[in-house]
Symmetry: C2
């Protein structure tokens, strides 16, 4: 994989509040909110005239909102008409692809500054149709008609991982507990409460209502109770990410123009993308994603970094088991060894390799097409030292990574950031 | 607009048969057919191992086929897994965007060879839902709920053009007649019959059935009769493109590797993309597309060519009026002067500037996401001198252009080819 012909910097990044925003806010509203928040992070300011193109990541506004052709619509809302405006789709990796294509376009010399967006408004549909819409990212001929929606597909992957490596349901709970602790520190997250606090709230409410108060000793007791119903064995409710409306915005600039906007650019030194057969039955392995291995191989090679060089990462925890797989497939841990690291707290905010300090898809929320760009927003904030509340990591982050997955691993985009 | 950092060649191009292919063929089947036909045009052969990435243009498999995430699915079908595979969307300009992004990616140095596809399978839906799905490329808040589907939007544009420039319904008929004459010479076209032959067939059938035979003197009489019903005044049935299933495939290669595949590369020397507000009511003009003007400005500037240098063009005739607008907005004719040129036969296959020798969207068909790539297939064949039957133009084509429009002009991609 060639080096990029021109260095590319992330010069600004912001996101809308993630959550159940519909019907008060739709894609256009959330995109403008994200744009303005990103503009606010560009040290010397940025105006529409400075931006050459608008790259929009979105999974399926077609099915969620009965609106296609988002590129020119989003561009027009922020004054970019008649500049190039395109939509990029790769299921839940859609804005990861938009980010990567923007890096490539700037490297090519055709554009100097690009606004990358990720947008998705999922709550316009009732939950059953959200599940149905997401399932169109699996194989619509073989998987979906068999009833295998995403919780079922990831449950299959979890079961295989349990069988092969001895991973347990309790290991998965460690992932969810950590990510909710992080999300509680993110004012843009959909859920801003730790699982321990949720448990305490529920106990208090039961007491107030004069009901028997459950004798949960800790979060694990709570997560093993009927308060955390089984969705698809072994995945329970708190193993699943959220149904979210949200948008994110990134400003990328070529090396030679970045200095006009900031003295503290975050360099994108590696980008990689991989693919796999959509259907699990077409894959060689259920416990490892070839798309992640391929994407990270390319990104490491381009940047010259190794997995051990990465200080923090945002990985695609659409289900808790996916975070375990990512930690292994990205090379942070050997296969079968990530669960132990999670149990030991290595991926906590103060651990040796903090993962999903934003709260991840689990607690920050997962507006599918916006997730890849939102991961980059968190890395930008952590590397700049401007992460809100108490989630700023204590180390000076000079090397970070995002991992954005589509579907059940059919697409993966890995991006490496340095300063 | 910068020059491309590396020259990019079109080294092979092919398409599936366009037509009503569903349910016998769906996107996967048509894509493989297009891939194989494109492979057959690469002089020294090409194999999956030679291809670095798969770029898929598709408008809305989400709504047409309840299948998203086409990138990895298409890549897997032709042996490209686990390489990068992405989908690009810009309504009916989706594969024009895929083509442009592939040119940019090769220019950047990240890839050497890319397979660009355009796919769309529209007939899985009944016609009313096809119209509904296409309408999601207009503004779903303002235009679509008011009942303005695309025939209505283009009827508005046509009426404004009639009013401003004196263009007539008969001028539009010239466009349809020409494009059907061209489509009759394209074995991959959906409709392979001239309007004169259709008229003769209908007369013969009436005679056979003992009915009164209409006294149509020529195609214009036929097109003014009830055999050509009004769809949205002033647009009749034969002013509208078709509902089509189809796929197209292009192989692009960097200058330094193109010679491995062919001694006759077609160079892509210009690419431009423009956008506009989705809603007609947000535009300054109804009779000119700002996205086309912007895209062609960029493409001409990059290539160093002027409109008068172009020898043949494939333009986006989703409705006959759109071909007139394109001829003007691309700078081939002054505003208001294209209709006269059409009447004079200048855009015929043997005219001074042949347009839509493939039959265009009107006769070849318009599988929306595949159209941009299919336009490049025709240019490839004309420049190589391999256009089928009698539609090969008599001149040696060294400079050509494609014009791919999305929606009612919200997106436009213009590409310039030289040899």
């Amino acid at each position: 994989m060639a080096k990029l012909a021109r260095k590319v910097a992330l010069i600004g990044a912001g996101m809308s509040k993630f959550g159940r925003n519909f019907p008060l806010k739709r894609n256009p509203d959330m995109w403008v909110e994200a744009w303005l928040n990103a503009v606010g992070t560009v040290d010397n300011g940025i105006a529409p005239k400075d931006v050459d193109a608008c790259y929009v990541g979105n999974y399926s506004s077609d099915l969620f909102n009965h609106q296609g052709h988002l590129g020119p619509q989003m561009a027009n809302l922020v004054g970019l008409t008649p500049k190039p405006a395109s939509r990029f789709e790769g299921a839940c990796a859609s804005s990861g692809i938009a980010l990567r294509q923007a890096v490539i376009a700037i490297a090519s010399g055709i554009h100097d500054v690009i606004a990358v967006s990720g947008v998705e408004c999922m709550n316009e549909l009732p939950t059953a149709l959200v599940t149905d819409t997401l399932a169109t990212a699996s194989d619509a001929l073989f998987e979906y008609p068999a009833g295998a929606t995403f919780p079922g597909l990831y449950a299959t992957i979890a079961t295989a991982h349990f069988h092969k490596y001895g991973t347990t349901a309790e290991d998965l709970m460690h992932v969810g507990i950590k990510n909710h602790i992080n999300g509680a520190e993110n004012p843009y997250a959909q859920m801003q409460q730790s699982i321990k606090d949720m448990m305490a709230s529920k106990k208090a409410r039961y007491q107030e209502e004069g009901r028997d108060v459950p004798d949960w000793k800790d979060e694990f007791d709570f997560l093993k109770s009927s308060s955390n119903p089984m969705i698809a064995y072994p995945l329970r409710l708190f193993d699943c990410s959220l149904v979210t409306d949200g948008a994110a915005c990134l400003f990328l600039a070529a090396e030679d123009v970045a200095k006009k906007f900031t003295d503290s650019p975050i360099w994108i030194t590696g980008t990689g993308q991989g693919s796999a057969a959509l259907s699990l039955h077409d894959r060689d392995s259920l416990t490892s994603f070839i798309a992640t291995r391929e994407a990270s191989r390319q990104a490491y090679e381009m940047s010259g970094l190794k997995p051990r060089d990465i200080q923090i990462a945002e990985v695609h925890d659409c289900f808790t088991i996916a975070e375990i797989l990512a930690m292994e497939d990205l090379g942070f841990y050997e296969k079968g060894k990530a669960a132990e690291a999670v149990r030991n707290g290595e991926s906590k905010r103060d651990g040796v390799l903090p993962i999903n300090t934003s709260g991840g898809l689990k607690s920050k929320g997962h507006p599918v097409g916006a997730t890849g760009a939102a991961q980059a927003v968190e890395i930008f904030k952590q590397m700049r030292g401007i992460a809100e509340r108490n989630r700023q990591v204590k180390i000076d982050v000079t090397r970070a990574l995002t991992h954005n997955l589509g579907g059940s691993g059919g697409t993966c985009v890995v991006t490496i950031y340095e300063k």
